[in-house]
Symmetry: C2
Subunit: 384 residues, 2 copies
Amino acid sequence: MPMLAHIRQSRLVHALQRVMRALPAQSPMPILSGLYMEARPDGVTFVCSGFGLRMESELAAQPDDVRIETPGTVVIPAKQAYELVRKLPDGPVSFEAGADGRTVTIRTDATVCRLWSMSPDEYPAASSLEPDRHRIRLRSDELKTMIRQVAFAVSPSETRPILTGVSCRFDGGSVKLVASDGIRLASRQSPPGSGGDGEPLEVVVPGHHLNQLMKTLEDDGQAVTDISVRGARIVFASRDWSLHSALLEGAYPPTDNVVPRSVSARIGIGTAPFLQALERVGLLAGEGSIVRLATETTDDGRFLRLWSDTAELGDIVERLPIFGSEGGDFAVSFNGKYMLEIVRSIDCGALHLQFAGPLRPIALRPAEDGDRLFYVLTPIRTHV
Amino acid sequence: MPMLAHIRQSRLVHALQRVMRALPAQSPMPILSGLYMEARPDGVTFVCSGFGLRMESELAAQPDDVRIETPGTVVIPAKQAYELVRKLPDGPVSFEAGADGRTVTIRTDATVCRLWSMSPDEYPAASSLEPDRHRIRLRSDELKTMIRQVAFAVSPSETRPILTGVSCRFDGGSVKLVASDGIRLASRQSPPGSGGDGEPLEVVVPGHHLNQLMKTLEDDGQAVTDISVRGARIVFASRDWSLHSALLEGAYPPTDNVVPRSVSARIGIGTAPFLQALERVGLLAGEGSIVRLATETTDDGRFLRLWSDTAELGDIVERLPIFGSEGGDFAVSFNGKYMLEIVRSIDCGALHLQFAGPLRPIALRPAEDGDRLFYVLTPIRTHV
């Protein structure tokens, strides 16, 4: 069918960049290599989708930047269309489909590019609008922080597919995200949002899709995101884009008892010095990434020692001041890379480390306001 | 042997970053994974070397930043030492070797790292100082530009090993760099430098080593680099570093007759519009990267057309204004990626394209001051 739309290049790039995040690197279905583009009198919708993820981006009609002369729908090669638009100078870009619908011509003053159109009828439709099972609204920047603090902890292995996802527990106007690979666990409760319609509900969202969402979420402090669970999908929608993700099937393992209830010792430590010490001590931690930790009490006060060694290279010791300790001295070993990822995500000036015994999980929380975020890391048993 | 030196972290990082460029990714000789460090009363020398490339970096003794308490020489694991130094806070870092010379301790207030030392006696010495065969001095920023304009054109294939190098022809106080993979050729004459001692001489330097040199050369407009050919090596030396490269064996093929002497047409074109058009037209040029070019004369003036197509995706046409043309219309096809790399390197507001026939090499030069730099690209024979 025919189509004629004129869109400013800078607006186009922004809209296409978002949907490209859902384009599958390779797909057994050729239609999924396409960019779906629907021009209506009130604006243009772009869609890419694949593997349970769908991204839609909207450009509302505007006299200067987005003009629709003839409504129509096409599907063109997504990668080439995006790369071309990126390399065009800022200014008007026209998209024109002939009456036969076989080609779409992308045109500026200097460039004329004809791309073969695939059939829009073959493009998968958005899932039908099943009734909401739950719906809440959160600030986009807060949702972005929550995902960054949690999603890194999912399992990279398909051995237990449910652990490749992030558990999202909706209860009233807030949501709690939990991710774990069995060795470490990250848990983050949202600040109170608005809405919260529906029964309390737990769903599991692929971690990979939340990472794409994180890149899309605005962090200007103004934008809000509506989250709704509909049937077997979750939809995240902002003013001019939406991300639709299939849910993982199966129940997420219970995590309420992961943090040991008994505490044998607790220390406070500066997050930045701890992070830098972990980065250095990791250099000699070898393939197993084993880092040892112990507290020590000297005439100068209490300190945390971190150390590691590699037989062929050497050893390294770091020493950091402790503040606000409870309980006696203790020693434990852990995976240094896992600890590093946790401490990089914790976003606070100081943190608390909490121990229940040499082989019991270590808990970490921000020293201030530590009710909404915590991490758990299982120690490594060592013989030295 | 014992050693004790105190060096400021920011100075250390800078010195080590340079020598790390010569560290082989993998080496059959364990000693070459080491960082050679020699502390003398007047300063410290760091060395990494491998595969015909050696980088030395100097830090002169200074009361605040570089203090040598006990001279000595050690060889420590280069990668770990560099990564550790990079991750230390700015401030004094001490290097201490015990009397047995088995370990080197790198120490700051918070960090104590012991690295096993290898034997400095096993570390390869710099080649003995054979007499200079030629020596000139160039401005470092000009040498950097010359290498960037030429070294990309070397052959990536070892089929003809001599073509993986850059020919350097010394004659009096200037040097001409030439690189070619047999399809394209880049040639750049230096501005007059100083020195120029010795007979006219042609040597061939591995392109990979010149790329490492390019990253090292200062572009502040102040620094100078001394180039000397000694035996089978070339040495590039600035105030506080030197790069030693083995020469490639064999004669570089003659290139003086590569540019066709007869010219059937010549056009001028803006470099930036040509570059952007090549970037876009390359998107549909397919695996063979075939781009077609033709001039056309219309009522509006003369234009250059560039186009390409991919059967499964579509086609693209670009149209650019021509200025200052000589000769009639012509058409030619070429490898778009090769042309793109040439136009990215030419550094000028406008360039001249020169043709001698549809299958004769295309020559490119800057429109202004085009005596010192030119490129040649062999066309592709097409049947359309």
